[in-house]
């Protein structure tokens, strides 16, 4: 079947079997390997992408299900050389170690901040509770989100003034 999606603002398509998972379509057909596979049961969140702005686990979606829709992956977070505040936050607060969960984590956090610009620690922990990190113990990820929230607030204040 033919599938056409908008990925990171660019329209891409491919001919796939109906059973092909979205994560495999992204990684294999589109050759974008920032989206990872960590389990087979939607438990770990390494494959998280944003589907029309909402986080979804791309191992639990078929490519054909998202035909005509818009997807953001980790490759779409930065604006050229300029990193998204969530990427800056992860770097500044040492929110990543091996980096394998990082793309999914950052996308979930970006979606959180898009809907809740000043989340509490509890709200952050709840938002990322579908994503497993084996390295960090989550404390620095929480700090990274708080760091990004401050950067976004600062940028918004600058625009407003």
């Amino acid at each position: 079947m033919n599938v056409t999606i908008t990925i990171n603002g660019e329209e891409r398509g491919g001919d796939v079997e109906p059973r092909v998972l979205l994560v495999d379509f992204i990684r294999t057909n589109l050759a974008m390997t920032g989206t990872h596979i960590g389990c087979d049961t939607s438990s770990c969140g390494a494959c998280t992408v944003l589907l029309d702005g909402e986080p979804v686990k791309s191992c639990t979606q078929l490519a054909v299900q998202v035909d005509g829709r818009s997807i953001t992956t980790v490759e779409g977070l930065a604006n050229g050389a300029e990193l998204d505040p969530i990427q800056v936050g992860f770097h500044e607060e040492h929110g990543l170690q091996c980096g394998f969960c990082t793309p999914g984590m950052m996308l979930v956090c970006r979606a959180l901040l898009d809907t809740n610009p000043e989340p509490t620690e509890e709200e952050i922990r709840w938002a990322i509770s579908g994503n497993i990190c084996r390295c960090t113990g989550y404390m620095n990820i929480v700090k990274a989100v708080q760091h990004a929230a401050k950067l976004r607030a600062g940028a918004a204040a600058e625009v407003a003034s």
Binding site: D24, F100, R125, C133
Partner: protein
Amino acid sequence: MSVEARPHGGIGESIKRKEDGRFLRGRGNYLDDIVLPGMLHMAIVRSPHAHARILGVDTAEASAMPGVVAVVTGELMALHKLAWMPTLSGDTQAVLATDKVRFQGQEVAAVVATSKYAAEDAAALVQVDYEVLPPITGPQQAKADGAPLIRDDKEGQTDNHIYHWESGDQAATEAAFARADKVVRLSTHYPRSHPSPLETCGILADVNSATGKATLYMTSQAPHAIRTVFALVAGLPEQNIRVISPDIGGGFGNKVPVYPGYVVATAASLLIGRPVKWVEDRTENLISTGFARDFHMTGELALTNDGQMLALRVSLDSDNGAFFADAQPSKFKAGLFHIVTGSYDLPAAHVSADGWYTNKAPGGVAYRCSFRVTEASYLIERLVTNAAIELGIDQAEIRLKNFVPKDAFPYHSATGWIYDSGDYEGAMNVALEQVGYAELKREQAEKRARGEFMGIGIASFTEVVGAGPGKDFDILGLRMFDSAELRVHPTGKAILKLGVKSQGQGHETTFAQIVAEELGIPAYDVAVEEGDTDNTPYGLGTYASRSTPTAGAATAVISRKLRDKARKLAAHLLEAAEEDLVWERGRFFVRGTPERAKTIQDVAFAAYTNLPDGMEPGLEGVHYYDPPNMTYPFGTYAVVVDVDRGTGVIKVRRVVAVDDCGVRINPMIVEAQIHGGLTEGWGIAFIEQITFDEDGNCIGSNFMDYLLPTAWETPKFETFATVTPSPHHPLGAKGVGESATVGSPAAYVNAVIDALAPLGVRNLDMPVTSDKVWAALRSAGVTE
């Protein structure tokens, strides 16, 4: 990530990580991201039974499937003498089963096809005819009279016993027990767990049929050792094997061994002449690759009535699975478990260990641990808290009374270790102060009076990490040294190549900081390369917290050697005598006239452009570092829990961690390693367990059944440091990556035991789940 105003990045600076950029942009290069022209995909057919005889393997239907290039069986591997391989513990392991399957998930056949989907489809069509045999799922069954013989492939093997191993002085220990006022006994099972790095294991084998060169991209924590093992297993000339470990998505010990899939994929690439990729799915990872722990331990502590420890006696049964494949130094059958006297000045100790074959996955890797140190630390710390409860002494006080004193280092332990340095009392005092121990004790007394269950758990661990020295520690004879090669370029930038391999520990930053300190080149000007055996010096790899103790030391030594040459060059440039030059990080100046100076960058340029007569050009060198001793990190952890009397739900209220790993090179990275270890320790204490049913079915085979900590239940941590340098490490550093996984499980469980102590509860086996606590509360009549 601006390039302006970059810090120098010497030792002790929490500079931001150099490696972050590619991961933040989704441009990491993990194994499964690598694609080669003509690449094929492999799927493995696994046994559904724990123990069964193979009567036949029918590959006809699978072979006929579209896209299938080859179906590999044990019979085919046997033709090439590759049906079996050696393990890291000197046993043998089936690559593809030919006679019997010995655990559920064992490799029986493999399908190579043009896509992952085609390979999986065809693997499901390989028909294997089994005669099911009775399974053995634990040491008690393994040692029973008339138990089925698991390893009937081994000549002379008549039972399921693998090894008997002892350490310490049995006679002295018995004598001490005979005069003890009190003996405290604890039998507990340290359950089977799994390291479960978020990236599973895999290989992309590319054997070039024209040149014979085998390029093996692998998720390996120890690429050089793996190259040698492959040369020995497959009989390939070692210069024709290149192992490349790309970015690794976590290891925790799981990526140390050689797995059958690696051998099959390499053989398939050799036979087919195309690259073959095999990447495990999560279930394969959980049911077949290196598990951890599974020790059934009984410890006894002999004491006087006032809490003086006299001796320790331990016996244990190790459940090793179907093949003895522990990844550990060859001379030590139960790993480094005999560090079990821990932080205490115990005059006598004796350890007796027996290993057993069972119908469970092999492995025995150290899940974020230095070869069974975790089991040892857990046992002694649980025993000490139980002794305090039994004797009515405070658990901090009994520790302070028995610690190896600060002035007793180097300390010779009863089981033969020589502890390099320590200040156990110092770490304990920081922990007690930071947690507010006296106030907590008052609160606990009040709550107990009201019938509430609050617990304070303490654990004061001592680790032994950083193997070698090579004369004592080897893997299959390969001495456990490590290496660093440093090349300073004419423009004063450098590349550092190491024999170890990061899996997230931040080597590209930490090791550059050592060069920044010792040779004065800013850390951000030092590239760090690891993982490619054609382009890095030989080393034994990253596990058991050994990178900083070994490769870190090698980096310091080679930096100093280059600095010595740089001094000669600077003397030439400044027309001064070497002994008149003063080194100040990054430059040499003439004593008394600091303006007469040459920077390390000036000197580097001169090494290629303006040399004194007779000097060898260049500013490069390599050092292989064989440590004179292990390092012994330590610390005290204090945990506070509240236990709900109606439901048994445990709430971890506080976690205070005081770690002493000697000199900290990048404190930010060190602290984050401790966070990770405290989290994995929490998981092991409360939720993680690989379980089996009576038929040997693994029922922890996915992340819905094998639970890992998420952000929601993981506690918050309060971390503190004391610094007691290692006297023998060039930088005074010790390893730290695993301290918190080693030390914290006992602290968590001690807190629960302390909460339930008034009910007479002295043990709950991990994972300490709410239902176990509820059952204890119920049997004490606290709840219905």
